[in-house]
Symmetry: C2
Subunit: 229 residues, 2 copies
DNA sequence: CCTACCGATCGGTAGG
DNA sequence: CCTACCGATCGGTAGG
C-alpha cells in the first residue's frame, strides 16, 4: 500500500481514539512500522498530518454528498434516505464521528469555519427542501429547518461517537427470544458481548430515526391506514 | 477561597477546554497561582485530580437530581420540565458537557461504568414514566423509552458542547427586526457577536425542545380536545 | 506550600 | 526511508 495512505489510516485511528494530544508520532510510526523521522519525511509536522487526516475525511464525505443531495432535492419524497446516508457514513467508521467531535472540542473556531464552508451549503439545500414540505403541508409548520438539520446532524455524529458508553450503559438488550440461551443467574451479563452491543446500537439507531421522522412529518409517513378520526 | 476548591475549578476548565492530555499541571498551577509541586500536594497525581473533578461534577448533578425525579414521577404531567432541568444544568456551564464528552471519548469503558451507576437509575425512572404515558395513550406507542431518553441526553449534552461550532456555522441569526441596525453591506457579519451567538443558541435550543416534545407526545401537548379514538 | 531536581517522552532536525 | 541527536516539556519526587 502507498505509504502515505497507510500513515493517514493509522493516524486517523490514533487521533480519533486518543485525541490529537494523546496520540504521539512515535506511536503512529510504530503501528505503521517505520521510524518517527520517516513519518516526518511524509508529513512535515504533526499538525500537517492532522490537516491531511481531516482533508481525507472531507474527501470521503464528498463521495456520498452528490447522492445525498439528489435524494433530498430531486424527486424522492424520502428525507429518510438523507438520514440513512448520513447515518451510514458515520456508522461505517465510528472514528469519523469521534475525530470530528474531538476537533470541534479542541479547535472550535477552526471547525466553525470548516463547517461553514463544507457543510452549511448542503444543509441549506436540505433546509429548503423542508420549507417546501412545509408549504405543501407535509411537514410541521413549527419546524425550524436549519436548526432541525443541525440537531439531526448533532444527534447522528454524537450518537455514533458516544454509542458504546451511552447506549451501552443505558439500553438493555432487547428481549430477543424468551429464555433461549441459559444465562448463569449470578452476574447480570458479560461486560459486553459484541452481539449485545450491536443490538443496543440498533435500538438506539431505530429510535434516532423515529425521533427525526416524527418531529418532522405531520402524519404517519407510511400510507395512512385510516388512523383515528 | 479554599485552595482545593480553586484548583478543582481551574482544572475543570482546563480539562474541558483542552482535554486531559492537552492540559498540563504546570498550566493549571500557573492559573491558580501556585507551584506545580504545591498542586501535587493537594492532589497526589494528575489522574486523581481528574477523578476529583469528575466527582465534583457528579455532586453538582446530585443537587438537581431530586428536583428532576420529583417532576418526572410525581404529579406534574410536564416531562418538558425534566428536559428544562437537564438543559439548564449543562447550559449553566457548558464545560460540564465538554468534560463529559471528552471523558466518553477518552475512556469509554470507565464512563460506561460510571453512567451505568449514576445515570441509568434515573433514566429508568423517566422511562417508566414514559411507559405510563404510553399506557394512557398520551405518548406515541412507538417510542422506545430507554432509547428515547438516551437520545435526548445525547442531544442535550452534545448540543451544548458543540453549539459554538455547529449552531454557529449552520444557523443564521433570526430576522430579529427587519432592517433595524445599519449593517455594513460588505462582509457577511462580525466573526461572532455574543448576542448573535446567543440568538443562535436560542433557535437551536428551541428546536431541540420541539423535537423532543413532538416525537414523544401523540397530540399537541396542550390539553387534549377529546383525543380521537 | 516552596526550591530543586529527575527520568521519560514529546515534536522535530541534521545528515546521509 | 534510516541513525543519531536536540531542546522543551511532561508528570512526579525529595526534602524542607
Amino acid at each position: 500500500m502507498d505509504a502515505r495512505a497507510e500513515i493517514l489510516a493509522v493516524a486517523m485511528r490514533a487521533f480519533a481514539e486518543r485525541g490529537f494530544d494523546g496520540a504521539s508520532l512515535q506511536d503512529i510510526a510504530d503501528r505503521v512500522g517505520i521510524r518517527k523521522a520517516s513519518l516526518l519525511y511524509h508529513f512535515e509536522s504533526k499538525d500537517l498530518l492532522r490537516l491531511a487526516v481531516l482533508e481525507q475525511l472531507l474527501l470521503r464525505w464528498n463521495d456520498v454528498l452528490p447522492r445525498l443531495l439528489m435524494v433530498a432535492a430531486g424527486g424522492g419524497p424520502r428525507i429518510g434516505s438523507v438520514m440513512d446516508e448520513l447515518v451510514q457514513f458515520f456508522s461505517a467508521d465510528p472514528n469519523r464521528a469521534r475525530l470530528l467531535l474531538r476537533e470541534i472540542l479542541d479547535r472550535p473556531d477552526d471547525m466553525r469555519r470548516l463547517i461553514g464552508k463544507h457543510v452549511a451549503p448542503w444543509v441549506k439545500v436540505v433546509a429548503d427542501y423542508i420549507r417546501e414540505g412545509q408549504a405543501r403541508g407535509e411537514m410541521h409548520a413549527t419546524v425550524d429547518p436549519e436548526a432541525y438539520v443541525q440537531q439531526v446532524i448533532n444527534m447522528v455524529v454524537s450518537g455514533v461517537a458516544t454509542a458504546s458508553s451511552l447506549a451501552g450503559a443505558l439500553i438493555d438488550e432487547p428481549p430477543v427470544a424468551a429464555g433461549k440461551a441459559s444465562r448463569p443467574a449470578g452476574r447480570r451479563r458479560a461486560p459486553t458481548t459484541p452481539s449485545a452491543a450491536s443490538a443496543r446500537a440498533e435500538r438506539s439507531g431505530k429510535e434516532l430515526l423515529r425521533i427525526a421522522r416524527e418531529s418532522l412529518f405531520r402524519e404517519r409517513p407510511t400510507r395512512a391506514t385510516k388512523t383515528a378520526r
